[in-house]
Symmetry: C2
Subunit: 311 residues, 2 copies
C-alpha cells in the first residue's frame, strides 16, 4: 500500500439517492448525487467518474463542462449509441455489460419457448375455459443461431442446450466455437430459430435485411432482443404477412411503436415493449458494477467494460 493511494480521494457521481444508498460507503471514495441536469452539487468539479441515469438523456455537453476532472463515464446500459462521439477528449466510456445480460437472455429464452410451445394460443383457450390438447413444436433437435457471442449470447446458448437445441454462435470475428458474420449466408438456411443479440453499430444497422430474412428457412422464428434498428421492419413485415416466418420482438423501429403500426397485428408476431433489461433488481446489479469500477479507478487498476474493447 503506497501513501499516495491512501491520501488520494476519488469522486464519483451517481444519478439519485437510491443509487448512493446501494453503492454505500467506500474507503477513499466520495459519492455525489447529480443526474447531469439543473444545478450541480458542490464539489462537482472534482468528479472523476460520472454515472448517468439508466434511461435519462441529460445534455452531456452542459454536464461535462462542469466536470473538468472527469476521466470515466460509466453507463448502466449495454447499448452506448447515444453517447458515442459526445465525450470530452481523453474520457473513457464504459458500458453496463453484464448488468442486463441475464434478463435479456431470459426474455429471449422466454420468447423462443413461448412461441414454439404456443403459450399465447393456450392462454386464449384458458380465457374461454377450453381444454384443447394439441401437439406443439418444441426445441428438441432444433438448431438455434445466436448472432452475438457476448454475455447475452452465451447465456442463451447455455440455457437452450439442456432442452435439446443445438446452438450456433456468430460474432464479428470467428474464434473457437464461434462463427464469423461472413458465414451467415451459409448458416441461416439450416437454423430454425435466429436470435439477434448484437449491439447497434454502423456495421449492424439493418443487418437483418431482405436477403438475411430470405435465407431463413420457411417456418423459422426470428427473435430480436437487441435494437429495433438492426432489422428492416418492412422486409420483416412482408415475411410475416406471407406467414413464411414468425417473430418475437422486444425491440422495434420506431419505439414506442405507434398504435397504428402494422407490426402490432402481423401474423405470428409477438411483441414486448423493450423490457429485456431492467427487471426488478437491476439496480443492485448495476451499482455492484459501479462500486467495483470506482474501486478499480481509485486503486489504479484496469477498468472493466471499456467500450471499444468489449465489441
Amino acid at each position: 500500500v503506497c501513501a499516495d493511494s491512501l491520501e488520494r480521494v476519488t469522486t464519483i457521481c451517481v444519478p439519485d439517492e437510491q443509487a448512493r444508498e446501494i453503492v454505500g460507503s467506500l474507503d477513499g471514495i466520495d459519492v455525489l448525487v447529480w443526474n447531469g441536469k439543473g444545478s450541480a452539487p458542490d464539489l462537482v468539479s472534482a468528479v472523476d467518474m460520472f454515472v448517468p441515469g439508466y434511461s435519462t438523456e441529460p445534455d452531456p455537453a452542459a454536464a461535462f463542462e462542469q466536470m473538468p476532472a472527469l476521466s470515466v463515464v460509466q453507463l448502466l446500459s449495454a447499448g452506448v449509441e447515444p453517447w458515442l462521439g459526445l465525450l470530452p477528449p481523453g474520457v473513457v466510456l464504459c458500458n453496463g455489460r453484464g448488468v442486463h445480460g441475464g434478463s435479456t437472455a431470459e426474455l429471449a429464452v422466454a420468447g423462443i419457448l413461448s412461441a414454439l410451445r404456443e403459450l399465447p394460443k393456450f392462454h386464449v383457450a384458458q380465457l374461454s375455459h377450453r381444454w384443447e390438447r394439441t401437439s406443439t413444436d418444441g426445441l428438441d433437435g432444433k438448431r438455434v443461431l445466436v448472432v452475438g457471442a457476448g454475455d447475452i449470447g452465451a447465456r442463451i446458448a447455455a440455457s437452450l442446450t439442456p432442452l435439446g437445441a443445438e446452438v450456433t454462435l456468430v460474432a464479428r470475428r470467428a474464434r473457437e466455437g464461434v462463427h464469423a458474420t461472413g458465414e451467415l449466408p451459409a448458416l441461416l438456411p439450416v437454423h430454425q430459430v435466429v436470435v439477434i443479440a448484437v449491439p447497434h453499430t454502423p456495421d449492424t444497422e439493418r443487418m437483418v435485411d431482405v436477403a438475411f430474412l430470405a435465407a431463413m428457412p420457411a417456418g423459422a422464428l426470428l427473435v430480436n432482443v437487441a435494437r429495433g434498428s438492426l432489422v428492416d421492419t418492412e422486409a420483416l413485415l412482408a415475411e410475416l404477412r406471407s406467414q413464411r416466418l414468425s417473430a418475437f420482438l422486444d425491440v422495434t423501429d420506431p419505439e414506442p411503436l405507434p398504435p397504428d403500426h402494422p407490426l402490432w397485428d402481423a401474423p405470428n408476431c409477438v411483441l414486448t415493449p423493450h423490457v429485456g433489461g431492467g427487471t426488478r433488481g437491476w439496480q443492485r446489479r448495476a451499482y455492484r458494477l459501479v462500486r467495483e469500477q470506482a474501486m478499480r479507478l481509485h486503486n489504479g487498476d484496469r477498468l472493466q467494460n471499456v467500450v471499444g474493447e468489449a465489441y
Copy 2:
C-alpha cells in the same frame, strides 16, 4: 459372437405402422404391429416385447393372454400408474424416461419465464396496440426448488442456472447435490419458485397439500408439470384466491378440466392442457428408445428404464 444369439429371433410388437417404419429393420428382430385391441396378428404368441400406444388404454389382461412368451412391456410414457400391478408375473415393465423429459422440462422453463416476465400481460397489451413499458420480475437471484431429480429436474436446473437462478434439487433420498423430501419443510420457505416433477406414486399423491403450500413464501410460484393428483386442488385454489401464491399448471385434477371448474379463472394461474410431453418429433425419440431396448433384449444386455430402478 455366439451361435445361439445369431439364430434366435426376438419379436417385438409396436402399436401402429408409423411406429414400425420409424423402428425400421433390425437384424434378428421381427416387428409386429398390434395395439393390443381387437384381433391379434399371426405370431403374436412369439412376442417378447410389447409396446402399447402412447395414450391408448387397451385391456391389458386380454392382450397379455395372447402373448405367453412376453418378457418386457415397454411404455412410451414416463408415467406408469395405469400399468402397475397389471403385468403377468415375471414380465418386466420399462418406461419412456428420457423420451418426454426434454419437452416437459422445456414447458416448465417456458411457464416459469412466462410468469415471471409477465408475457400474458404484454400479450393482452399487444392485442390493443398498447406499448406499456413496465418493470417485471426475473429469475436473477431467485431460488428455484425442483422436486424430482430425474431427467426432467436435471434439465430444468441446467436450463435455469445460466439465467441467474440458484436451483435446489429434491428427491426421495438425499445424494450428492440432491436433498431428501424430508427436508422440504425447511427448504420451501426460502425458495421463490417450486417445480413439481416427480412421478405419481402412493407416496407422492397429494404431496402438495395445505402444509406444503403454506410453507411457500408469499409471492412464490408453483409449477406442476407432473400429475394433477400430486396437488390438493382445493388447497391451491385457496392460496390463489388470496393472491398469496401464483401457479403454472400443465396438469390438473381432474383432467380434462370441466368448463365450470374454478381453476380456469383463478387469479395468477396459467393453465396448459397436459402438453408437457408429446411435442412434434416425440415418436422419433420414443422409437429410438424402443430400437435400443429391442437390441438389448436380443443381445441379452441389461435393459434401460426398468421401473423400480428408475425411481
